[in-house]
Symmetry: C2
DNA sequence: TAGATTGTTAATCGATTAACAATC
DNA sequence: TAGATTGTTAATCGATTAACAATC
């Protein structure tokens, strides 16, 4: 919620949070910055600096209280407050994301899917209904079929060829954030933000460096 | 292939490459750094600097030759040379990745999938066979059932609860790169590299900034 | 005490942006 | 010519790492 947290810190804090959840399961009460750093193969002073952002404090000689630190991260990143989102495209990827249990825990609430395949319409994935894509505008703006909540986020998982057209429908439907899982560059108005889930880029970086 | 290319540059160059493919389809012969920058909402001198890395050169007043630049990026990032990989977990996410047409174009060649579900064994996804997970070691090291190619990369798409155990099987099977799509932190030996596809982190960063 | 760990400052390193001469 | 664009250097900005006093 605080715009001044660096992107990289947000991403690392999310990973720390995963580690802390693990610790709780294992019954570990304390963890040191060094231990976290080791698991992620990063610098331990970086870990302490990131933790300082959440105003959590540790104990000399023992480290950080796992439960307390976990809650501090949750407060900082604000994932208690749920954000509603649509998934556009109910293929394998859309389905996988609709089932991704973590999203719910981290503040992303998938409220519905949209697809063009008639055999999928009105079926459910993980309790979430699939609507016909042409109904998006209606669902998003007027009828508010889904919990009367304002939905500003869409996960775009349609085939590449349909991506730009879908993006246009999304902007017309007052979506403000498009999380783009397709391997295409979308052209959208300035008031819409796109985040490219650049899988190929991640792969090339991973195996080249 | 050149370890000195900054991560961010690699990721941006991949996006430029997507844009260039689009241009070709549309029949545009030239593109300016400004135009690319606009599409990605970044700085135009950044684009020129990234392009300088591939030793491609543009023309004053007209920009860069699309086809030439595209090839230069391909040379730089080396995705002509295919790298073989396994997908571990043939659920929705694994299936989606197995069908992802882009991977092939960018040098990632999925050669087989592995799963524990008996109903999936010996079926095919996008022409790629699904093997029983316990056979991984054998396939990866001895029999070399798959094209006699050395496979060092695995995409991990199993349920979170099975992630660590799968990672151990992978390291035993001489996998060197684990692209981790599960929301867990893996503990692996130092000679194995893990890349965490941190979806939740990307989401939090995207909607907070 | 000796040793381990935090919290924080300073130093380093790298990435982005600004600026502009050169070019066509 | 005037204007647009590259290529590159310099300036800025931000992120990571090193170092170490304070603490228990």
């Amino acid at each position: 919620m605080n715009a001044s947290i660096p992107s990289n810190a947000i991403k690392r804090l999310t990973l720390y949070h995963h580690i802390l959840s693990d610790c709780l399961l294992k019954g570990n009460e304390y963890i040191s910055s060094q231990h976290i750093a080791e698991l992620l193969k990063i610098d331990d002073s970086q870990v302490r600096k990131d933790i300082a952002l959440c105003a959590a404090s540790g104990k000399t000689k023992v480290g950080y209280a796992v439960l307390e630190l976990k809650k501090a991260i949750e407060r900082l990143l604000g994932f208690r407050e749920q954000k509603a989102a649509f998934i556009i495209g109910a293929g394998n990827l859309g389905s996988a994301l609709a089932k991704h249990t973590d999203f719910q825990d981290y503040g992303l609430d998938i409220v519905a899917l949209f697809d063009n395949d008639p055999t999928k319409i009105d079926t459910f994935i993980n309790g979430k209904k699939i609507y016909p894509l042409p109904k998006l505008y209606q669902v998003a703006t007027h009828e508010n079929l889904v919990n009367k909540r304002k939905v500003e986020i869409a996960l775009l998982t349609v085939p590449a060829a349909a991506a730009q057209k879908s993006a246009e429908l999304l902007t017309q439907s007052q979506i403000k954030y498009i999380w783009n899982f397709t391997p295409t560059i979308l052209s959208v108005p300035d008031n819409v933000r796109v985040c490219n889930e650049n899988l190929v880029g991640n792969f090339l970086d991973f195996t080249n460096n």
